[in-house]
């Protein structure tokens, strides 16, 4: 059973070069390849942006900044897929929040009410 499927995949690979040989006959279809190369260059330029905290030092004393990465309902720290931070900064924020919790600077199960009106950085929709 598996051998049959493997053979089918091999056949698919062998059939592809035949199709490209058909395309190379016309000159009009060679141009799109150059556009594809240019698009690849642009992608590498976009990824140099870095996350939003690129040049910001993260400190446990700055609880207003830390509170922006915490849920207002439960006080839980948001994950990387929600904050959109890079690995280094996400770890720094997480460590600073836990430090602030244990030092008695930041509340654990909620957020200070004065920080509730801050602009929402994290891409999470709240049912308000």
């Amino acid at each position: 059973m598996l051998c049959v499927r493997g053979l089918q995949r091999l056949k698919a690979i062998f059939y592809l070069p035949r199709n490209t040989s058909h395309r190379s006959l016309t000159s009009a279809e060679v141009l799109p390849k150059d556009d594809a190369l240019l698009k690849v260059e642009n992608l590498s330029r976009e990824s140099k942006k870095g996350c939003m905290l690129c040049n910001v030092t993260v400190d446990f004393k700055n609880i207003q900044l830390l509170s922006q990465f915490v849920s207002p309902h439960t006080g839980r720290i948001y994950g990387r897929h929600i904050t959109g931070l890079c690995g280094k900064k996400q770890k720094e924020i997480s460590k600073a929040i836990k430090k602030a919790h244990s030092l008695g600077f930041m509340p654990v199960t909620h957020k200070y009410p004065e920080f509730m009106k801050d602009p929402r950085i994290c891409s999470i929709k709240h049912l308000d």
């Binding site: 690129c54 030092l103 600077f105 509340p107």
Partner: protein
């Protein structure tokens, strides 16, 4: 000497008593051979959660930050002393990292 930071939370008291407590703490530090570099008052605030210390439930406190240089051997005795102090709600000594302004770009380095 390594550099430390004392995040001190004192009981919510009147101004002269708070001043006396801070003076006491700094004098203790200096007696043990520490060099106090900076003292910051972050004001009196509502604590993030109620803290029970010395048989008392605290809801408000005054936050102080003491920057100092000292030998690592005195820290144990210092923390012991601070925990015994009735006016201190939560003493924490942290190591201060030497932050050099190197390239802090967290994007792909090239």
């Amino acid at each position: 000497m390594p550099r430390y930071e004392l995040a001190l939370i004192l009981k919510a008291m009147q101004r002269p008593e708070t001043a006396a407590a801070v003076r006491r703490t700094v004098e203790t530090l200096m007696e043990r051979g520490a060099v106090v570099r900076n003292l910051e008052n972050m004001g009196e605030r509502l604590l993030p959660y109620k803290i029970t210390k010395h048989n008392e439930r605290h809801s408000r406190g005054t936050y102080f930050l003491v920057d100092f240089y000292c030998a690592p051997s005195i820290l144990d005795g210092l923390l012991n002393h601070l925990h015994r102090d009735v006016d201190v709600v939560r003493p924490t000594v942290l190591k201060k990292e030497e932050q050099e302004p190197k390239s802090s770009g967290c994007g792909p380095s090239q």
